[in-house]
């Protein structure tokens, strides 16, 4: 290339240089550290609290509150990409020539200087000798070409020439990954939505800002549940049953669990968090003990305000629920807090639609009943308040570009690290009384392994050629 010719040449030289590459890789590594030490995307008050006002000024001026999206970090990445592009343009033509027009028939003087090489004599004619040699090389996976020039027979063999292109695959994949990231950054989003059980929403709050994206459909949370490993407090499963509604009509219902997202119209929903909205509404689980001695106790679940049937035409209604019951003025029941500190429920038993009796049930006082000799007694088992689920919502149209780049980078690395370009030239010369074979090898990496390989090949050639000396 037109290196160091005028300004253009100097610029080209600078942007294609490996010195710049190494500098950029180091600078990116070093500056990346800052974002792992300084909190990212926090609000100004937090920075002032931790680093003081002056510290915050510096952080703000240098964009250190969001290092990886700051103008200078993105510029460094862009510069790296540019470096790769220029460098590839600079070098690719030469590599391509290697592949398209290999050095098949170099001058004998050139070959004489190369290492490793071997010479030995054979009895066969150059033609027959080359045939046998070609067989040996083909067995080893070499591609061969022969040429006879009067008394001189020539053979060129090579394998692994693709290694010459491996770095371009690797470098191109770095570009592809960066482009994929850019696509996601421009046309994608990532945020969260919280939905109370039974309700639906279409608003996604974007991370790190207060922007809200409105989805073109509704998402309803039918229920949310946590399961624990038996006998432990370790959660085993978080599960939201989610329904997608288009124009109010349900189209998909699916359980969203950690590691099991829901995908709909290019948007993915992930189980991310959960919480309790209220303990005044929710689902109550009770043990029902019939008065008749013969009947076994059984369990029922009922929503606060809802009804459930018991047996023999009896139904149960949960009239009210108090997570933390205390008696206020005039002995009125009331809540002290939202926590389940003294849960109690007022129940009503009905038959054929007509109320029969009311009864209180207390979690911590199971023997207290307001009605004696009733057909059913009740015991508190558990209560699950109204929950909300937190879903992470993201759309990233660049993700397939990124995966393509990731696959290619692995292919590129394997091609450039574990395949080497091996070349072998053979000359067989008829010198009247004797015929001399000259074998010359060349490799572009991993020379030690090639020397060994070359030794084996020579041995096999000699065996194949028989009466050699």
């Amino acid at each position: 290339m037109k290196k160091s010719e005028g300004l253009w040449g100097r610029l080209w030289g600078f942007f294609s240089s490996l010195r710049l590459t190494i500098f950029l890789l180091f600078i990116l590594a070093v500056t990346s550290i800052s974002g792992t030490l300084i909190m990212q995307r926090a609000n100004p008050q937090q920075y002032v609290k931790t680093y003081g006002v002056a510290g915050y000024q510096v952080i703000k001026a240098l964009g250190l509150y969001d290092v990886y999206h700051s103008w200078w970090f993105l510029s460094l990445l862009a510069l790296l990409a540019f470096n790769i592009v220029v460098c590839s343009f600079d070098r690719f033509p030469r590599s391509w020539r290697f592949v398209r027009e290999p050095l098949r028939w170099p001058a004998r003087g050139v070959l004489g200087e190369m290492k490793p090489q071997e010479r030995f004599n054979v009895a066969l004619s150059p033609e027959d000798a080359l045939d046998k040699i070609q067989e040996v090389l083909k067995d080893k996976g070499y591609k061969c070409e022969k040429k006879l020039e009067g008394k001189l027979g020539r053979l060129f063999a090579q394998k692994g020439v693709i290694n010459r292109l491996g770095v371009y695959v690797t470098h191109l994949s770095v570009l592809i990954i960066l482009i994929g990231g850019l696509i996601g950054g421009i046309w994608g989003f990532s945020g969260s939505m919280t939905i109370v059980e039974g309700e639906s929403s279409r608003n996604v709050t974007i991370f790190g800002s207060h922007k809200v994206v409105t989805l073109p459909f509704d998402v309803r949370c039918d229920s949310f549940q946590v399961a624990f490993y038996p006998g432990t407090m370790t959660p085993k499963d978080y599960r939201s049953t989610v329904t997608i509604l288009e124009h109010g009509k349900p189209v998909v219902t699916k359980d969203v669990r950690v590691n099991h997202p829901l995908k709909y119209r290019g948007i993915s929903f992930y189980q991310a968090s959960y919480g309790t909205i209220s303990n005044r509404v929710g689902t109550l689980t009770l043990e029902v003990i019939p008065r008749e001695g013969g009947d076994k106790p059984f369990r029922v679940e009922a929503k606060v305000g809802g009804e459930v049937s018991l047996k023999d035409g009896y139904r149960l209604k949960v009239v009210a629920f108090f997570p933390d019951l205390v008696l206020g003025k005039d002995n009125q029941p009331m809540n002290r807090s939202e926590d389940l500190r003294n849960p109690a429920a007022l129940l009503e038993v009905k038959k054929d639609g007509r109320p029969q009796y009311r009864s209180w049930v207390f979690a911590f006082f199971p023997e207290v009943h307001s009605v004696k000799d009733a057909p059913f007694r009740f015991r508190y088992v558990s209560f699950k308040g109204l929950q909300y689920t937190g879903l992470q919502v993201s759309k990233d149209p660049g993700v397939w570009v990124v995966w393509t780049g990731c696959t290619l980078i692995l292919v590129g690395l394997v091609i450039s690290f574990f395949i080497s370009h091996r070349r072998i030239w053979v000359l067989v010369e008829d010198k009247g009384k004797k015929r001399q074979v000259q074998v010359v090898g060349n490799v572009n990496r991993n020379h030690a392994a090639f020397s060994q390989h070359f030794g084996e090949i020579i041995k096999e050639m000699r065996e194949a050629l028989g009466g050699s000396q």
Partner: protein, 285 residues
């Protein structure tokens, strides 16, 4: 009952044995250097192999116990288990290199890493050896691919670091007009350093990619600049710089040895430092 209790902790008891085996192996490899005794060298390799087999048995037993307890997961899920797997990876990679290059001297500088990693499981702060059920985030096959590739990569970098330390020691002795004849040739060490990085770099790349794939699947973004992710990228950038410096700018010897040691420091920080000093998504390793 007694039998069951013993069985439930059998895996950690085996690891206690392996710690001593690796210590013994380290000592044997060191003794092998000045004496150059064939039998000493062979016994070092045999002892290392015995340690590796015992350690493998411990990991298998741990998996079986976990299935018996109804949790059923591969032993890669907390700091203790990752440390055990780290030392296992170092020994596997080392033995492969010893076998391929027929050189036992490196053992003296690599086996200490395997020993220290295991010893750390007994003295490190806050290391729990119990088998625990998996929280939902860790219930993924990506976990296994991610942990295996990362740690094999780390192990290759541990080897390159050990070799680089040897290089620097020998080079310094030669600068002072002497030599440490029992250490391999500087050229050999330099070459091994490069080879180990060539094994480690694709593995680390794959480790980062499987991690990204998993994050994308579990959380919805393949890259969030979480401190552990960022540090793995820093490590990757350092080794990418190493490859370019060495392959095309012709850096050799001391400079690349130092780079290799810096790279491994970044590996250790990614693996342990981030957890000890910075909090993030990765709860353990």
């Amino acid at each position: 009952m007694q039998g069951l209790a013993l069985y439930r902790t059998l895996d950690t008891k085996l690891i206690a044995v392996v710690i001593f085996i690796y210590l013994l192996a380290t000592v044997l490899y060191f003794c092998h250097i000045p004496f150059r005794n064939k039998w000493l060298g062979r016994s070092a390799t045999l002892v290392t192999l015995a340690g590796l087999v015992t350690e493998t048995a411990s990991m298998v037993i741990r998996t079986v116990i976990s299935y018996r307890m109804g949790w059923g997961h591969a032993p890669f899920t907390n700091l203790y288990e990752s440390m055990v797997f780290f030392s296992w990876s170092i020994v596997i990679i080392y033995l492969l290199i010893e076998w391929k290059y027929k050189n036992r001297t490196i053992g003296a500088f690599v086996m200490p890493f395997a020993f220290i990693a295991l010893a750390y499981t007994t003295i490190g702060p806050g290391i729990r050896t119990q088998i625990e059920p998996l929280v939902p985030a860790l219930q993924s096959n990506w976990l296994i691919a991610h942990v295996i590739t990362c740690f094999l990569g780390y192990a290759a970098f541990a080897v390159s670091c050990g070799v680089s330390v040897m290089y620097l020691i020998k080079a310094r002795a030669q600068e002072r007009g002497g030599d440490i004849a029992f250490l391999p040739d500087l050229r050999v060490l330099d070459d091994l350093n490069y080879k180990a990085v060539m094994i480690g770099f694709p593995l680390l790349t794959l480790g980062i990619i499987t991690g990204a794939a998993w994050a994308n699947y579990a959380w919805g973004s393949y890259w969030t600049w979480d401190p552990k992710e960022t540090w793995s990228l820093i490590t990757w950038l350092i080794y990418a710089a190493f490859l370019h410096a060495r392959f095309t700018r012709g850096w050799r010897g001391k400079k690349t040895a130092v780079l290799s040691i810096i790279g491994f420091t970044a590996v250790l920080f990614t693996y342990l430092g981030v957890n000890l000093l910075i909090s993030g998504l990765h709860s353990y390793a």
